[in-house]
């Protein structure tokens, strides 16, 4: 379809990216590994007040904080006496396109308009596409969304099919591709051809846009309860949600609030596999993104990813697909809130974690997403059955990604699995050290940077470096 081959386009990646994002990433370099993260964010020129103002113009943000009193009762029904924290949820489905992703898209659309780009484009199969399309519609900008949408049999993932429809409803052009990472190749062709702004999920604009979410929820809890929440749980994929929310919490003064990242466990399914594509009942918020992006954020489409989740997370847990579907049913049944399953990943984790916390404690699930045909447990599970996946009631420990979706028989069976953060941090450090060019070595600036990157200290980093060098010898 294009005159330019895969290698030819990939060779132009740096130039196309620079033109389409308008950021000179090289100038933030401070060492062989380190760069000035805060300066990269600050140089956008948008502080929290400015962002809130921009978002308010398009009715983004300021979403309700809802106390889930009946779900809290359900937690307490399966907890020891005195246990069962109060559950709250930030109803982000109230944003214009139905998810918190509007926050991420808002600054990109604003920046694109301000700088005179003719349109904005994004490579995304999820809610972010609808958000970019919605923001583009409001700003009067052209919009192209490139999706990984169907397998080689032509079967579309129902959640992505719904997103195709939503983007087209907002007037966007949607390019649907079959499975494979070369989506990025086509995306570069689109950017080169159109000169559109790249509304990447990983630019400073995208991350700064989420800070308002953490900030808002901290102040909402404070206003209502006189104190900050004890814990916030965020669904974790590429890292933006965790990063932006945690930064917003810190800016609100809620630095002691525990930040928990939660992902759906899809271990064993290959993200670039044509066969596995429709055996995943979740298209985001899963370990296929969260593990690689936690351990190496700069695998993103921009040179320096602004989403750096390891800097902010205190815990990282996984839940099963069956547990999330169960909690999605529960939220509708006893809270009267029918919301999309992907956004309920953090709710499933929070539900189980709340059992271990004291009754007086407060835990906030920081998002919901809209629901609809395809983007719903029924659409996903009907496809799963069609693909030969065993859907049954039972103990979720029997869940096997791509083979069996086990819906809990009782809420007491919801048990998130704790990820070993030490292992994740060491894996990040290994990846960082392996990225050093031949002849380069780690500087003092790098050690301080790596400590911040992993939320550890220089001693931890030095010990990891020595251990890495021992292994190489």
């Amino acid at each position: 379809m294009s005159a330019e081959s895969y290698p030819a386009i990939m060779d132009q990646k740096a130039d196309i990216m620079r033109a389409s994002v308008g950021i000179d990433y090289a100038k933030y370099t401070t060492g062989p590994l380190s760069f000035d993260y805060e300066a990269m964010l600050a140089d956008t020129g948008y502080d929290l007040d400015a962002i809130r103002d921009i978002q308010a113009r398009t009715a983004v943000g300021d979403t309700p904080l809802v106390e889930l009193k009946n779900l809290t009762e359900l937690v307490r029904a399966v907890s020891e006496p005195g246990k069962g924290a109060r559950l709250f949820v930030k109803d982000e489905a109230a944003n214009p396109s139905g998810s918190f992703k509007d926050r991420r898209a808002s600054l990109s659309a604003y920046e694109a308009k301000k700088k005179g780009y003719p349109g904005i484009a994004a490579a995304t199969s999820g809610n972010y596409g609808a958000a970019v399309a919605s923001q583009a519609a409001k700003a009067g900008l052209g919009c192209i969304i490139v999706q990984e949408a169907f397998d080689s049999q032509g079967i579309a993932q129902p959640e992505i099919a719904e997103k195709t429809r939503a983007c087209e409803a907002y007037g966007a052009e949607v390019v649907r591709l079959s499975v494979g990472p070369e989506l990025f190749y086509y995306f570069l062709i689109v950017l080169k051809e159109t000169g559109f702004f790249n509304a990447s999920l990983y630019t400073p604009y995208s991350i700064l846009g989420i800070e308002t979410l953490g900030h808002e929820l901290a102040l909402q809890v404070k206003a209502r309860e006189g104190r900050f929440p004890d814990m916030v749980v965020a669904t974790h994929a590429g890292g933006g949600n965790v990063t932006g929310t945690a930064r917003g919490l810190i800016k609100a003064g809620a630095a002691d609030t525990q930040m928990v990242a939660a992902s759906v466990d899809l271990a064993g399914l290959h993200m670039a596999s044509d066969r596995d594509f429709n055996r995943k009942s979740f298209t985001t918020g899963h370990t296929g993104f969260s593990v690689p992006f936690s351990t190496w954020p700069d695998r993103a489409d921009v040179p320096r990813n602004a989403a750096r989740s390891l800097r902010y997370m205190d815990r990282f847990v996984t839940v099963t697909q069956g547990e999330v579907f169960y909690v999605t049913e529960a939220l509708a049944a006893v809270e009267g809130m029918e919301r999309g399953p992907a956004g309920n990943t953090s709710l499933a984790a929070a539900f189980a974690i709340a059992r271990q916390m004291d009754k007086e404690q407060i835990i906030v699930v920081q998002e919901t997403e809209y629901t609809g045909a395809g983007k719903h447990p029924l659409g996903q599970l009907n496809l799963a059955k069609q693909m030969g996946i065993d859907v049954r009631r039972g103990d979720p420990v029997e869940n096997q990604p791509g083979k069996a979706i086990v819906i809990p028989e009782h809420p007491s069976q919801i048990q998130p699995v704790e990820m070993d953060l030490d292992r994740i941090r060491r894996s990040y450090l290994r990846n960082a050290l392996d990225s050093l060019a031949e002849g380069e070595s780690v500087t003092e600036a790098d050690v301080a940077f790596l400590a911040a990157e992993t939320k550890t200290d220089p001693t931890y980093v030095r010990e990891a470096i020595e251990s890495h060098e021992r292994k190489k010898r």
């Binding site: 379809m1 009762e73 007037g171 529960a330 395809g374 029924l378 009907n382």
Partner: protein, 103 residues
């Protein structure tokens, strides 16, 4: 063969990369199939299903391909209720009712 006239909303498709042009770093199953593309827009001239077609997309891009569908439908849906999910609401209400009685 179904024909569509100029200015009809259609979907076209094509191969972006043949399997031997694809990224070398792919799982075996993906490596064995081409990278395909589908995009919708308004036909620039009459075309028939399976034949060459050219469209103007909503952003005004001109894209060439093979006509795959005329006025393409959205076919994703909720589908049948899932028997493994259907009893959950009632089960939870029973747990809450029992807790209400106990307290």
């Amino acid at each position: 063969m179904q024909r569509a006239v100029k200015n009809t909303w259609v979907e076209i498709g094509g191969i972006v990369l043949e399997k031997d042009e694809r990224s070398p770093k792919l799982p075996d199953d993906t490596q064995q199939v081409p990278l395909e593309m589908r995009v919708k827009g308004f036909l620039l001239s009459d075309a028939k299903i399976g034949g060459a077609a050219e469209i103007a997309t909503p952003t005004g891009r001109t894209v060439k391909g093979t006509l795959t569908e005329i006025n393409p439908a959205y076919t994703h849906m909720f589908g049948s209720p899932i028997p493994e999910l259907s009893p959950i609401a009632k089960e939870i209400r029973v747990i809450l009712a029992e807790r209400g009685k106990a307290s």
